[in-house]
Amino acid sequence: MTAFLPILAQTLPTGETPAQPMLLSLLIFTPIVGGLMLLLAHKLHPTLSRLLGLCFSLTTLLFGAGATIIMMEWLGTAPMIKIPPQLNPFKIQEGEAITQSFLGFNYHLGMDAISLLLVLLTGIIAPMCLLASWKVKHPQIFFGLMLLTQGAALGVFLALNFFLWFLFWELSLFPMFFLIKLWGGPGAQRAAYQFVLYTIGGSAFMLLAFAAIYAATGTVDFARLSAMANVYGPSILNEKLAVLGGAVPMLAFLGVLVGLAVKVPMYPFHTWLPATYAEAPVGASMFLTAILSKMGIFGVHRILWPNFGEQLKDAAPVLIWLSLAGVVLGAYAALRQTDLKRMVAYSSINHLSYCLLAVFAVYSATSGTQADADSAFAGTLLQMFNHGLSAAALFFCIGVLEDRTGLRGLHDFGGVRKVAPLFTAFCGIAMFSSLGLPGLNGFVSEFLIFRGVFGVKPWAAAVACLGLLGTALFFLNFWQKVFHGPTAAHSAKVADLSFREVLVLAPVTVLMFVIGLWPQSLLSLIQSKFF
């Protein structure tokens, strides 16, 4: 290890110099500071604290727009991803990858296309979640905790040092734990503990893996690890890890994989999800599914793929099958659910498994063209964004039903379309977006993923089609049972949307159409001429 350090001490190219000092720190810490303020000033007038919380939450969109403008300079049409794996250069960076530091910790942030996209998604979804939770009890504390989660998620998307990254990763859990436990449904207690224990259980393995990496290389900075691979070849990390023991490279890979797989979640590490999503309060469910579930996929891109390319290739046959299981069994399990929230939760498993499928199929591919890889990669990124929009909207819609009637069973309603046409229209659009109807956003990303996967593993794309069918089945079942048929007794209580509720749904609905009809609008944001 000590023999290796001098090599690292040489200046290795890690990317651009900081263009906008503080921008990334502001992005992360504004919501955190806002959240702490609300938690401390919990005697504040509820309306004032709500508005304050909303303003703090909206800053992400504002700073995100600023970051977009800076990133725009790099727009181009070069290939999206590089094979063999390599971390993309970071356009905006803060702090630096210093070589000698206490336990490898340094304050190093960076933004690339993936983080930009997820920051923007957070910027759109987080205020929407707050608006959706306008009427909760003790809004000061609820909003404060939501803001803390928001800041932690942004930290995950922007951190370039593993320990910093891990800090944010764990930090996102605890506010969510309290949100679920204190504001959740009748089974919230159990769900909250399950959520935290399961996720921490996964993370522990990841931490061990990174301890090994630190022991082997003396750094846990993503950019530095990537630079190391650039200079000494992609298998340098494995060689260094193998010095610690023959099985260590694979164990380290598995450790990271388990940590991420629980978060996404990947089949079969998913059973915490339906319970958690179902018991969480609406705003928290929306944030969980739209943002926190993306942290896992993001981790695959940020950590797993650049550092463990070889092991990923070895494990791919198994991982592809697990992703397919998520795609197909997720969709079909949703068909059996009678609790609408659980149904949409299962649909999340299905949708995110498409992302995993694309990643595993393409990153492990031995055949296939650059076009296949680009298509799959773009599809994964878009799918993260699109799933965020549609799943958040759907959870909100179920929240509307629950808010009016206290019920959310598949068979509790009927004929809602007659009493609440506006609500029906919004919910229908979100549903068709989620089932991948062309013209709406979901189709674009799913098509790109299927196209990429088909290019390298045609049979996998064919099997995944079953997931498309299952999705159509359970959504149309949902639609038919809840909105069609004669108006049931409970349905009569479903008043149509209020202005605030329209305000929650309208922006995401507009985005669904924009991305569906003009996908280049989003794609050009994540394309760099330097990739």
């Binding site: 290939p79 189709f443 098509f447 299927f450 196209r451 498309l468 159509a472 089945l473 149309l476 394309q527």
Partner: protein
């Protein structure tokens, strides 16, 4: 002028009307229908201009392409294509569409969601027209799915009826099964050829270079092109109600009748045939054999089942299934131009028949069962006359009616097919059956005595409903003359070949007595129909059908549509439910239990750990702690808490210290 650049207008205008309709408040509902009618009329104008531009060079494929999205090395192209095939279809859809929209203003007059209805209709028209002018298989797929959505919304338009809601879902799911095949075909095509464009000045996938690449350069290229063709055909099977995915089409009749006329007779269901005609150059002989087989089976199946149905719309629905089978058969035997000819004539006369049925249903207070009708001919003269023309066109009554000529073209093609004579014979059998069940329908609906109050009270409808009938009836006659063997102008335009300006009537009677055969068969069907249903008319609604009395078991089987629904319920649905059950049970009973076990294991370890701590380690600790506590107790007794005592000790200590220091320093 290059016309293709303006083709986008054809779908864009109805789309605009759909947007207007979506935001029309209920009170101003006329705005919605006016916008829809206006948009269709304007689109019709543009489509006519496009047609005349296409006919100027019928062999050319004029295109206008653009990139829809591009990421890295990957891109997806959209485009518009102008050729006679698309242009004829666009003119037909806009014209028939306009008439059906006009009819709907009367038919849907009393519906509270009138504005929404026209919004959905316009959305449908936009997607359908987009499909027709598309030059990209991806754009076609996109429109194809939106057409499916519009169909879903319109079948379930009366969503408060559980049957309508169920039928809408069934239609969407069944067609989606086929569409997944379409999607896979599209993906495969794009992976193999890296283009989605039909024509692109030599590099589109329907052009020689790509086809040669598939046939020669690519290993197993013919197999690949067969596979792609068949996967795309899956989509067409779903959309065009072909066996074995035909089950949704009859149920789709739960929608309002104008919807049935527009979508489930004239336009959308023909999209599958259109798609096959469009990608015809790609289809290998093997793929075509499959297409012909499926088409023949469907043609026969639909016709046989149609004989036994009692709901007037369902008879027409099965007749549509059967006629679509004919068209597929024509594609399969290598005559796409005959298929399109039949598609066009069928669109007019089937729209006419459906609207006629709608007129009857509207007049009979939404009674759809033929057993409760009867005697409507004198009460609804215009409807009767026009319906009769439609019926004769469908049955293929010789010379005057368009259906005769287009069916003749298909039979000629099937007869000339070298692979197998079966499709030809099946086509002939279906001719008899078609004439037979249409005679049955006419006799039951229009002749005899009325068998219900609704039928007795029936009155002719207003002009908005009868005018479209009359115009469609005129077309149902005239259109046939564009494609007679004497002067096959339409076919020549579609294939881009030259044609002499003067008709050659001798050609009609060429060939091995085909014409005579089919005339005899039509006469046979009509005669048999009249013999069974005409001479002795149904007297009451409850009496069984004459054929039912003779062949009760066969009748029951056919009446239940040969138990296809039951078969699917017992197999596909059960399999589906089983998969759902397994997925759910796996989670609940296997994975969750495993997780709980791991949790319990952790708890158990913790428990053991605790025991060791308490019994082993803590015991020692306790002992030590006790000792410490005793000592501390002794010390603590010194801690009195009195300041004076402390000061005293402090002073003593200080004195002692001073003494000690003094002693030591000495």
């Amino acid at each position: 002028m290059t016309f293709p650049e303006h083709l986008w207008l054809i779908p864009a205008l109805p789309l605009l009307a759909a947007l207007v309709g979506a935001f029309t408040p209920r009170a101003q509902r006329k705005i919605s229908s006016a916008a829809a009618l206006l948009a269709m009329a304007a689109s019709f104008g543009v489509a006519c201009a496009a047609l005349s531009s296409a006919l100027a060079q019928p062999a050319a494929h004029q295109v206008s392409n653009f990139t829809w999205m591009a990421v890295g090395q990957f891109n997806l192209q959209f485009g518009f294509l102008l050729d006679p095939l698309g242009a004829f279809m666009a003119v037909m859809v806009t014209f028939v569409g306009f008439l059906i929209f006009l009819f709907s203003t009367g038919y849907m007059r009393d519906d509270e969601n009138y504005a929404k209805f026209f919004c959905y209709l316009s959305l449908f028209a936009a997607a359908m027209l987009g499909l027709l002018v598309s030059n990209s298989l991806l754009l076609t797929f996109l429109c194809w799915e939106i057409v499916g959505l519009a169909s879903y919304l319109l079948i379930g338009f009366w969503f408060h009826k559980p049957e309508a809601a169920a039928a809408a879902k069934k239609a969407f799911i069944t067609t989606r099964v086929g569409d997944l095949g379409f999607l896979l075909g599209l993906l495969w095509l794009d992976s193999a050829l890296h283009t989605q464009l039909f024509y692109n000045n030599g590099v589109g996938f329907l052009e020689t270079a790509a086809l040669d690449y598939l046939a020669v350069a690519l290993p197993c290229g013919l197999l690949v092109s067969s596979a792609i063709g068949l996967l795309l055909f899956c989509g067409a099977v779903g959309k065009s109600g072909q066996f074995p995915l035909h089950v949704w089409l009859p149920d789709a009749m739960e929608g309002p009748t104008p919807v049935s006329a527009l979508i489930h007779a004239a336009t959308m269901v023909a999209a599958g045939v259109f798609l096959m005609a469009r990608i015809f150059p790609l289809l290998s002989p093997d793929a075509l054999t499959v297409v012909a087989t499926i088409g023949a089976i469907t043609a026969l199946l639909g016709a046989v089942i149609a004989v036994t149905q009692n709901d007037i719309k369902r008879v027409l629905a099965f007749s549509t299934v059967s006629q679509l089978g004919y068209m597929m058969l024509a594609i399969g035997v290598g005559c796409p131009e005959a298929a399109i000819f039949h598609l066009l004539t069928h669109a007019f006369f089937k729209a006419l028949l459906f609207l006629g049925a709608g007129s009857v249903i509207f007049a009979a207070h939404h009674e759809q069962d033929m057993r409760f009708m009867g005697g409507l001919a004198p009460r609804m003269k215009i409807t009767f006359a026009t319906f009769a023309i439609g019926m004769m066109a469908l049955a293929g009554v010789p010379f005057l009616f368009s259906g005769f000529w287009s069916k003749e073209a298909i039979l000629h093609g099937a007869h000339a097919w070298p692979t197998s004579p079966l499709p030809f014979y099946i086509g002939l059998v279906a001719v008899v059956l078609t004439a037979f069940y249409m005679t049955r329908l006419m006799a039951n609906v229009f002749f005899g005595a009325p068998r219900s109050h609704a039928a007795e009270d029936a009155k002719e409808n207003s002009w908005v409903m009868t005018l479209p009938l009359a115009l469609l009836a005129v077309c149902a006659v005239l259109l046939g003359f564009l494609g007679t063997p004497a002067w096959p102008w339409l076919q020549a335009q579609l294939t881009g070949t030259e044609i002499s300006s003067a008709p050659d009537f001798a050609k009609i009677f060429e060939g091995p007595g085909l014409l005579a055969t089919s005339i005899v068969l039509v006469a046979l069907g009509l005669g048999a129909g009249w013999a069974v249903y005409g001479f002795q008319k149904r007297a009451t609604a409850s009496e069984p059908d004459p054929l039912e009395k003779k062949f009760p078991r066969a009748w029951a089987a056919l009446e239940h549509r040969l138990y296809f629904d039951e078969l699917y319920a017992a197999t596909v649905f059960r399999l589906n439910n089983a998969l759902a059950f397994v997925a759910d049970a796996l989670d609940r009973w296997v994975i969750d239990q495993a997780v709980c076990f791991v949790g319990k294991l952790g708890e158990f370890l913790g428990f053991i750990n605790k025991d060791i701590d308490e019994q082993g380690l803590n015991a020692g600790f306790d002992a030590t702690a006790g000792k410490i506590r005793d000592t501390a107790g002794a010390y603590s007794s010194a801690q009195t808490g009195e300041a004076h005592g402390y000061l005293r000790v402090l002073a003593l200590g200080f004195v002692a210290l001073v003494i000690l220091v003094a002693v030591l320093s000495c």
